[in-house]
Amino acid sequence: MFSVIIYGRNDSHGYNLHKRAAISFNALAEVMSDPDDEILFVDYNTPDDHPTFPEAIADTLTEKAKKVMRIFRVRPEQHAHLKNRTHLVALESQSRNVALRRSNPKNRWILYTNTDMLLVSRNPKESLSDILGGVPDGFYQIPRFEIPEMLWEAAFDRKDPAGNLAKLRDWSVRFHLNQVVHNFMPMRYDALGDFQACLREDMFAIHGFDEDMILGWHCDSNLAARLALYRGRVDTLIDKAFGYHCDHTRVAAANNKGRKTTMNSHDRFIWNVSSPYLPNQAETWGWPDVEIEEVRLDRETSYQRFTAGLDRAIKPATVPFTNTSCEWHLFDDLTYDLPHTLPFVCDQVLTYPKTMAVMLAATRPDFVSGFATAWRGMGFTGPILVPQECEGLPAGLPGVTTGHFADLVGKTDLFIFEFGLASQKIDEPTRTGREASALDKKRLKVVERLFREAASTEAETRPAHRRLARRFIGVNVIYNKYWPIFTDHVGANINPFCSQVLAGSPLPQPTGMKAKILKLRKRA
């Protein structure tokens, strides 16, 4: 019957985002009763190494919410062409259009709302699907009522949407919440963007949201103006449902700077709209030709993929715990516990696109074979690119492509550099003071050289289709000689030694003579 379209990002937009979003997702799912109903969440520009926002809070969502939710992940790379035109990190029009394009064509209605709304039918026996199924074609709004922050934060149970809706019915009377704020047409009510129901075919006819609106605010009003033109009227469903908003102004969101807030032009996008249509984006709105990843919370979850990969690559531990040491006298010992480290490496790559290619420059053959097994097990389909300069690594592994570093460096989307001892066996103890053999040193030298070259030439070797820097993952680069080397070139956080892994984007290369000399001195 209807597709709810909402958007967001795995960040901290406003006060206690996680709670109000979970309340909202669960409440929206609760008022759905048609098998085709869906919540389309566009996760816009979350960093590649983060999960999407709904994945991050999945444990607080009801089974129904997980079942009806489809997440469309718009990658930072897909946003990169707009990055210099806006101060915002998440774009409303683009997000909503991406979802609209990919919405269930069986659904008659599209409902635009936000991740902090609860919709309460006035007749408790009626679902929103019943309501929308019973009204004629049109463009409908409802008034939005505010819930004081204390109420939703203190009294709502995220996983009890029916209870929350019942509480709202009670509070609305006890605390006089229901105040309709009328507005100028075409914005029939204030905060209209929290409930705009329109026909899916109308949205296609008018070419979606205006994708020129990239400065934030008023996208909803622009849509109202255009749909008001298209339909002639803005109708109300005030007799059917009330909308409640979890107020979140204790802390201003990123797009709210008070009177200094940058906004889309009110005049241009509302008061001087002259057509419902946007012919300039008629063919391109919602990025029909861009492959957008779809993530589900009820199948093939990140956890399922992670465990599937690691279960194939490593066996369960046979002892209660193992040991290592970060004492400084062991600084030169490059042994590490592979079965312990591999989960942390997989954790670094899991949230990336399944089709991406990864370059793996390594010393330990068991690391390469273990990672390759986990990679496939996690559902990745892209190739693992192994430079043939790294000798002694297993050949013929499925999904592994070997070639000259120079040929592979322009094809990879991500780099992994592993600095271990080629001679270390899987059952050897770690960090006991072992010295590197001549062979180990030879192999490490190659990986180090390739790392330096990859990091310092990343921008020049970047594939043509990429605008953003590729990420570097360093394995066994904490509290040993490769720590400063790695962090000289890569902007990595300080990580616990126990994880063995650092990651980040390449640092800008020194350009001045003084900086170059300093860098050379450091290397020496």
Binding site: P136, F184, Y230, G232, I270, N272, S274
Partner: protein, 344 residues
């Protein structure tokens, strides 16, 4: 005419009180709409009971006045008479839905349903504050044009164009108003201007085709309709069917009508047109092509012409000529009749 008094102009009212001038009008339409406006003012002013009384008076004059039904329902709701309000909300929606929208191949504004008194009232209020926006003028113009008042709509569009000069979309709407007023030459100039910016605008091509037909240029009109067909997306089957019918191109219309029926099985015109198309391509129909209740006389004449074509071409010619004489040039049947006549 002052900016906020567009509906007053249409209803010839004094500006002192919304609708005051027409409260004594003998025309029930004017009086009903005035009562509605007074009711809205009282509703906004918190005089809800009094507003209900105004809406009820309006409804006595205009029982199918959906805006008044909806406003009365909302007033009752505000008074806590929820059970009384609930069916009235539904009734308003049913009334709006029952109105026949315009042809789907024409400008969006002809597909709107309602008297738009509520909207115009609200836009006029907006105009008290919004001095640099063309939108309220445009929206009022659309409401007036949709109700069949082109000269008044023109004034609105001209005001909008003063704020947003040379805007192709506004100019195209102005062209629609000129065309409806019978000023076809000026209308074509307006459409030419709009099409110079966006040559693929299907609705503007349709509008220019109608204006060209109004000037007697059937070939020019057909050329625009053919271009419109090129640019109309496959998903807009009903619109495509209507354009094909204007061209009297029944073979093209048939599959589009099938799709339109599948999507809107209760729309009687798609069934009627399907029968028409089947008859014209020499295929047997499913049932007699009954003209829906309340159809325009020209629509009836056209159907008679289609029936006559099978045996009596002279009689068909007479019916098609009557179609053209009695119907507005924008009517699908009038356009099709022109094409039928050109082939007889």
């Amino acid at each position: 005419m002052s900016k906020p008094n567009i509906l007053q102009f249409l209803l010839r009212r004094k500006p002192a009180h919304p609708g005051a001038g027409d409260l004594k009008s003998a025309d029930p339409e004017r009086r009903g709409q005035s009562l509605f406006r007074v009711g809205r003012t009282k509703m906004r002013g918190g005089e809800t009971e009094a507003a209900v009384a105004e809406f009820e008076q309006a409804l006595k004059l205009l029982p199918n006045y959906a805006e008044a039904v909806a406003a009365r329902a909302e007033s009752l709701d505000m008074l806590g008479r929820i059970e009384a309000a609930r069916p009235e909300y539904e009734r308003a929606r049913t009334l709006w839905a029952a109105q026949r929208p315009g042809a789907p191949d024409r400008s969006y504004l002809f597909r709107q349903r309602g008297r738009f008194t509520f909207e115009v009232d609200s836009y006029e209020l907006a105009l008290l504050r919004v001095k640099t926006g063309s939108f309220p003028h445009l929206a009022c113009g659309n409401a007036l044009l949709a109700q069949g008042h082109p000269e008044e709509a023109l004034k609105c569009y001209d005001r909008a164009l003063k704020i947003k000069s040379n805007d192709p979309d506004l100019t195209a709407l102005k062209g629609e108003a000129l065309s409806m007023a019978g000023r076809y030459k000026q209308a074509i100039e307006a459409f030419d201007f709009a099409l110079a910016t966006n040559p693929k605008a299907p609705e503007t091509l349709n509008a220019r085709a109608i204006a060209r037909l109004g000037l007697g240029d059937l070939a020019g009109a057909n050329a625009d309709w053919r271009r419109q067909l090129e640019f109309l997306p496959a998903g807009q089957a009903s619109a495509r069917a209507c354009v094909a019918l204007r061209l009297a191109d029944y073979a093209t219309a048939l599959p589009e009508l099938e799709k339109a029926i599948a999507k809107e099985p209760n729309e009687p015109y798609w069934r009627l047109y399907r029968e028409t198309a089947l008859s014209r391509v020499g295929k047997p129909g499913d049932a007699a092509g009954l003209v829906p209740m309340g159809a325009h006389a020209a629509e009836v004449e056209f159907q008679k012409g289609v029936v006559a074509l099978t045996g009596d071409k002279a009689a068909a010619k007479v019916h098609f000529e009557r179609t053209i004489k009695t119907g507005p040039v924008s009517l699908i049947e009038v356009c099709a009749a022109h094409n039928e006549l050109s082939r007889l």
